[in-house]
Homo-oligomer: 359 residues x 2
């Protein structure tokens, strides 16, 4: 896979979003969210999604300049209607409104309805950790996981995430789909024409399958059986039911439903650490825990114990220096968008130690 | 296993706690929490724990009349020191303080440190659901799960839970240990002299084991591999690090450490549904989701699709009518306590359709 300099790709992503009708500041939010995912090795939530976002804008399925509609019934709660705007943009704007409430009351929460796919949750959670806050984030998405005993996709892969500040130069980052794998991995296998491992998914008849297309038509399995299903349901309750967004199979598919909005729901709960304890003490306590974990006896063959977030932090350092890897399909899509909008594709390629400029 | 009438066992539990020095009102909180667990089929968190709680009170490891020490730095956050009181009692008292804050601000959160094992999280979550509120509850416990790559117990089984009101006569109840099984199941197998299934645990050297004693000395495996470890760490961050409680291996063992307090930490976040949406609308939306899930196509051999909380609700109805099953070891412990405190053991036995009174 070819690597590209993150700042140049970020600039291109923002320019393309602007060309599609997104305001410059909002386009920069979107580009930052996408690049954060690519930097951390979550390419399924990075620049590879820009094409579909823009296609949906072009079909009036996403409103590139949507206002946020905010209802505040109680001091520390925001009930947000994203008004069918870009998921990342509306989520960041919601967090900006939530931050002063969490500072004042100690904790503040928001539901967001009528939103879209909004990328990797850890982008939002890390934003909070940088501010000595903790964000629990959840989101639904188009149906993927079947309820216990069923063979019909109902819940989204329904991830849950939280990040915690440390003194180690990276946050503890929890970010997990409640499916056995993120649906993006199956989409990536499908794009690449690869089979998927056994145990990931059922086909539409409820049989185990290694065929990525059959898996996408069928259901992804939950992690840990009924426990994963229960967590997926918890995420659905907070993100979909409580927010007023679409629930389960009502949620539009980003790729399949090019005739209606997704109406995805998100859930945020933001805690100001200073409301509980001195943030410096919190970081010291966290660091002490990390130090202890890293000196635990290791299983045979394990060279180093990493804590959640450490691997992706190292990946981000590597990708910032070497450039972010982008697959060929995505590069072709970006070039197509550039041609369509009359924007030159001038991003350098950095792979194999060679630097060259494509035009 | 013999069954006993829940109200009689509840009365006995409260009387025994009072005899051990707990105030009557607090003893009734404790007894209610224990009975709720037994009713719902979670006997590992029910009356089977009363003996060890009382033994710890007798050794001055739990203070039966401890005050709650509450610090409120911000309007919607309580930083609670349980002062080494009974876990269930201090947790319920914290929730009573939290409820008006959640009503006023829409959301309110509490950490609790210097607490004990406090039973099943769903007891607290269901309390909230009955009030049209949603409680996210987490707790740590003595080390059981090893970090990814390690073979040393570090995290507790670190459960996370939330319940949601419905119009169906029972709440949606999510309550799961992040271990592959609750440690209580291994304790129960050990008590009964049974082996445990493969895949549940590692022995102290990091080898898979089916020996319950070796598993208790070693580490329970997390559910879903690294995802379960990540969730366990999230629970540890909220319950232990943020609360100021003991972290990881510093947490005292309820059974093994009869010379020091446990210093368990808990975490609560309480949401008032009315701050987000009309609670009646919320219940209708939840019921519609349940109805849709129950009509999903079923996998072969599945007769009925149940939603989380439904099975345990049915179990509670059955146990209320037939009596709660109590194992022989626990009955012997209760009789021993009765003898010690000079309280007659007059609880009826209800097993096998026969009713008889033991004295």
């Amino acid at each position: 896979m070819t690597r590209y300099p993150v700042d140049e790709v970020k600039q291109l992503a923002a320019d393309l979003a602007v060309a599609a009708g997104v305001a410059r500041g909002d386009a920069e939010i979107l580009a930052a969210a996408l690049m954060d995912a690519d930097l951390h090795g979550v390419s399924t939530h990075g620049i590879s999604r820009l094409n579909i976002y823009i296609r949906r804008i072009q079909k009036n399925l996403v409103h590139p300049t949507a206002d946020l509609v905010v209802n505040r019934r109680r001091p520390a709660v925001l009930e947000v209607d994203a008004n069918n705007g870009l998921g990342q943009v509306q989520a960041v704007k919601t967090l900006r409104l939530l931050e002063p409430l969490a500072r004042e009351y100690g904790v503040a929460s928001a539901t967001i309805r009528r939103s879209q796919h909004f990328g990797a949750l850890s982008f939002y959670c890390n934003w909070a950790a940088e501010r000595d806050m903790i964000l629990i984030a959840m989101t639904t998405g188009e149906s993927a996981i079947s309820p216990e005993g069923a063979c019909e996709a109902f819940f989204g892969t329904n991830p849950i995430a939280a990040s915690f500040p440390t003194g180690k130069g990276f946050p503890i980052k929890i970010d997990l789909a409640t499916s056995i794998v993120a649906r993006g991995n199956i989409i990536a296998a499908h794009k690449a024409g690869r089979p998927i491992p056994e145990g990931w998914a059922l086909d539409p008849e409820g049989n185990p399958t290694t065929d990525a297309a059959a898996a996408l038509a069928g259901t992804v399995l939950a992690m840990a059986g009924h426990k994963g299903v229960a967590l997926a349901m918890m995420v659905e309750m907070f993100s979909s039911v409580l927010s007023g967004a679409a629930v389960g199979q009502e949620i539009g598919s980003m790729y399949k439903h090019m005739d209606r909005e997704q109406n995805v729901g998100h859930f945020f709960c933001l805690f100001d650490i200073a409301a509980f304890m001195d943030p410096a003490l919190f970081r010291r306590r966290t660091d002490a825990m990390i130090d202890r974990i890293k000196t635990c006896r290791r299983r045979p063959g394990v060279e180093e114990i990493l804590v959640p977030g450490e691997r992706s932090h190292r990946k981000a350092l590597e990708n910032r220096s070497k450039g972010i890897p982008i697959d060929e399909v995505t590069v072709a899509e970006l070039k197509g968008l550039c041609q369509e909008f009359g924007i030159p594709f001038t991003v350098q390629t950095l792979s194999c130690g060679q630097e060259q400029t494509e035009v």
